[in-house]
């Protein structure tokens, strides 16, 4: 291999300057959460399991008709997850709580995308097809998506679903927070609008936190003192209050640390301004140059 001395120092030198210039620019991690997003408060003590929200969601998002009708009570006998054909599902849990006549009392839990404040899916998406909007919605742009499904790997709530049976143009499917509807003045998500018992309250996240705290304070016998989604993973736009321990109704305890923090810190401290690759390039270049020179001289020395 021939090494051209001038060209060599030009490239290696430029790399060195780039390194010196950038130094420690990788600052601490900052949350990118919107300041005043909308949210939705789910009151599990109010939900009666009518599944009207599922029906409304299906209608406003023009999803395909379900296998069993929305008023078929047997659907609740199986635990379900959101799918590519249903952005939200209601599950029934028996936690052992009894009523006056010693009958088991069910707790119904609606699940959908939590619209995390610092969403793992948004941080993960290779092309930025998922974005956290100012109004709180985590929005999916199918025009950018390549279908890598890294968002699904990342989501701690296991929410995004995939159209696995579409060979060419599958989409990631998840609750949209009815982005279009709530972007309009006074617009409500389809599910929150229909709920007959006001188990779903839509509003500014800050207001909802106050509402939740007030309800818990006014009726401490009815509620646990925990707003799920207030602190979990840095906060979520959808939040829950409950009379039953969250672990017993399908929620996992989660840390307050936003998920993207670790990977984004690693990525940016290593790669901002490409300082570490540039440094490595310079080091390897130096090594290559010195071994090359040494060998040249020793060869010459051997000949003479």
């Amino acid at each position: 291999m021939r090494l051209n001395r001038r060209g060599f120092f030009k490239v290696v030198g430029a790399a060195g300057v780039a390194v010196a210039g950038t130094g420690q620019n990788a600052g601490a991690w900052h949350s990118k959460a919107p300041k005043d997003p909308y949210g939705c408060l789910v009151d599990l003590t109010r939900c009666i399991g009518c599944r009207k929200c599922e029906e409304a969601c299906n209608r406003v998002n023009r999803l395909p008709p379900p296998e069993l009708p929305f008023d078929d009570p047997t659907v609740l006998d199986t635990r379900r997850r959101p799918t590519d054909k249903a952005y939200t599902v209601v599950n029934r849990y028996y936690t052992g709580k009894l009523d006056e006549r010693s009958k088991l009392v069910p707790t119904f839990v609606k699940i959908q995308c939590m619209h995390c404040q610092d969403p793992a899916c948004v941080s993960a998406c290779i092309v930025g097809a998922l974005t956290k909007k100012e109004n709180g919605a985590v929005h999916y742009d199918v025009g950018k998506c390549i279908g890598c499904r890294y968002c699904m790997v990342a989501c701690p709530f296991e929410i995004p679903a995939y159209e696995y049976y579409d060979p060419i143009t599958p989409r990631v499917m998840k609750c949209t927070f009815c982005y279009e509807r709530i972007s309009k003045q006074g617009g409500l998500p389809g599910c929150a609008e229909i709920c007959p018992v006001e188990a779903l309250t839509f509003g500014k996240r800050s207001t909802l936190l106050e509402v939740a705290r007030k309800r818990i304070k006014q009726d401490p016998a009815r509620y646990l003192d925990h707003i799920y989604g207030e602190k979990e993973l840095g906060g979520t736009s959808w939040m829950y209050i409950s009379g039953e321990p969250f672990e017993s109704v399908g929620f996992r305890p989660l840390p307050a640390e936003p998920i993207p923090r670790l990977t984004e810190t690693i990525q940016h401290s290593l790669f901002s301004y490409l300082w570490s690759p540039a440094l490595l390039f310079a080091l390897l270049g130096g090594l290559m140059w010195s071994t090359h020179k040494k060998q040249n001289t020793s060869e010459k020395g051997g000949e003479s």
Partner: protein, 401 residues
């Protein structure tokens, strides 16, 4: 150098190659099915388990096991150990084909294969996957350019395309001359860039799963996962070279390069030892050894990976007797290769749990066929290329019965 690299001149359709062709055909059928019926039609992937063996083996393990390319390139060309020159070309060819098939695997795995170019336009610099994709793309091109001089060496001034294609003789010749004029001048940039890009994405492949702290088993989920991925890739580079060189030389009855392989594995003692210390140290520091005896499938898989894939072969390599014996060396290196392969499978598949949904996953037959078909395709093309191009060294053949 005692032996120049030269094309292999031997019967092509051996029984082994016929088997490869069959496996490729079976894989091709499964791939057609994937593009007709969708990913769900051929695979056992689900919403809870979005990544399976296509990512865990074809992509993640493929990248790790192609590490022989940049590690030998470093040794021979950057550290100037020309003694190792005879293994550089085969390792380079493996890396080039390995990455080509990584990209093919990705095309099959992603839902919108035709959109694979979109990350070039839409960037998300927060995404580890974005960085991996960019590095793999650039590195693949670097590999093609690094390999080009071998084509030039063989065909420059000798382009004779058959039949009608003969009209392209002129342009092809011009292209080769251009490559011959330009490439030697920039080769050092390509070689260094290859090492830099490799270090970047080998480590970032480990960062990939750090986005799922609630899903990855604590035995593998550690903030130093990128460092473990990088060090294991570097450690597996030379054993992989030994592994494939031994297979190739024994199936083509060529010179074994035994002296080179033996000294390569002396370096491996340090590299693998470093990885071992990091891996065990990480386990001690984070206290995850409490899981070791709980008897779950995940823990057992971890133990196999650590003991049979790292510790035992490392101890084996310590013995000079092992390094002198062709067979023992091959066994030790195969264990190291298997250990890194199992590590990637563990991190991406075995260690991945989805507790909210039913997340059980085992690859379907078609899924396995796609993977096996791709690997067979890689080996088949390798065999074709060494037939026409001067890749393998050692014109003198071993005395065979």
């Amino acid at each position: 150098m005692d032996a120049q690299a030269c094309p292999v001149n031997q019967r092509f359709w051996t029984p082994g190659v016929v088997v490869l062709a069959f496996l490729m055909a079976a894989g091709a059928v499964a791939i057609v099915a994937r593009f007709v019926g969708g990913i769900g039609y051929v695979s056992n992937l689900s919403n809870a388990r979005p990544w399976g063996i296509w990512v865990g083996i074809d992509v993640a393990s493929g990248v790790a096991l192609a590490a022989g390319g940049f590690t030998t390139g470093f040794l021979a060309h950057i550290a100037g150990r020309h003694y190792y020159e005879p293994i550089v070309r085969p390792a380079l060819l493996t890396a080039m084909l390995g990455y080509t098939f990584v990209v093919l695997g990705l095309i099959i795995d992603i839902g919108r294969s035709w959109a694979i170019w979109k990350p070039m336009i839409f960037h998300n610099t927060n995404s580890v996957l974005f960085e991996v994709a960019m590095c793999v793309m650039f590195y693949l091109n670097v590999l093609y350019l690094e390999f080009a001089p071998i084509v030039v060496e063989r065909y420059k001034g000798r382009v004779r395309l058959p039949g009608l294609l003969a009209i392209f003789n002129g342009p092809a010749e011009a292209l080769l001359s251009l490559a011959d004029a330009v490439l030697p001048k920039i080769m050092w940039i390509l070689i260094i860039a290859g090492v830099v890009l490799s270090c970047m994405h080998q480590s970032s492949l480990g960062s990939l799963m750090l986005i799922a702290p609630t899903k990855i088993h604590p035995l593998w989920y550690t903030p130093i996962l990128p460092l473990l991925f990088l060090t294991s890739a570097i450690a597996v580079g030379y054993p992989m070279v030994v592994f494939e060189t031994t297979i190739i030389t024994s199936s083509l009855k060529r010179d074994g390069e035994m002296h080179i392989l033996a000294s390569l594995t002396r370096i491996t003692i340090f590299l693998l030892g470093f990885y071992m210390v990091l891996k065990v140290g990480d386990m001690v520091v984070r206290g995850t050894y409490v899981y070791l005896l709980d008897g779950t499938a995940q823990t057992n898989s971890f133990l196999v990976e650590l003991i049979l894939g790292v510790i035992v072969p490392w101890v084996m390599l310590l013995c000079p007797a092992v390094r002198r014996s062709r067979r023992a060396l091959f066994i030790a290196c195969t264990m190291i290769v298997g250990g890194v392969l199992l590590n990637r499978i563990n991190v991406f598949i075995v260690g991945f749990t989805s507790r909210l949904s039913d997340g059980s996953y085992f690859p379907s037959v078609s899924e396995i066929l796609v993977t096996v078909g791709l690997i067979s395709g890689l080996m088949f093309i390798y065999r074709v290329l060494v037939t026409y191009l001067p890749v393998l060294s050692g014109a003198h053949q071993e005395v065979s019965s």
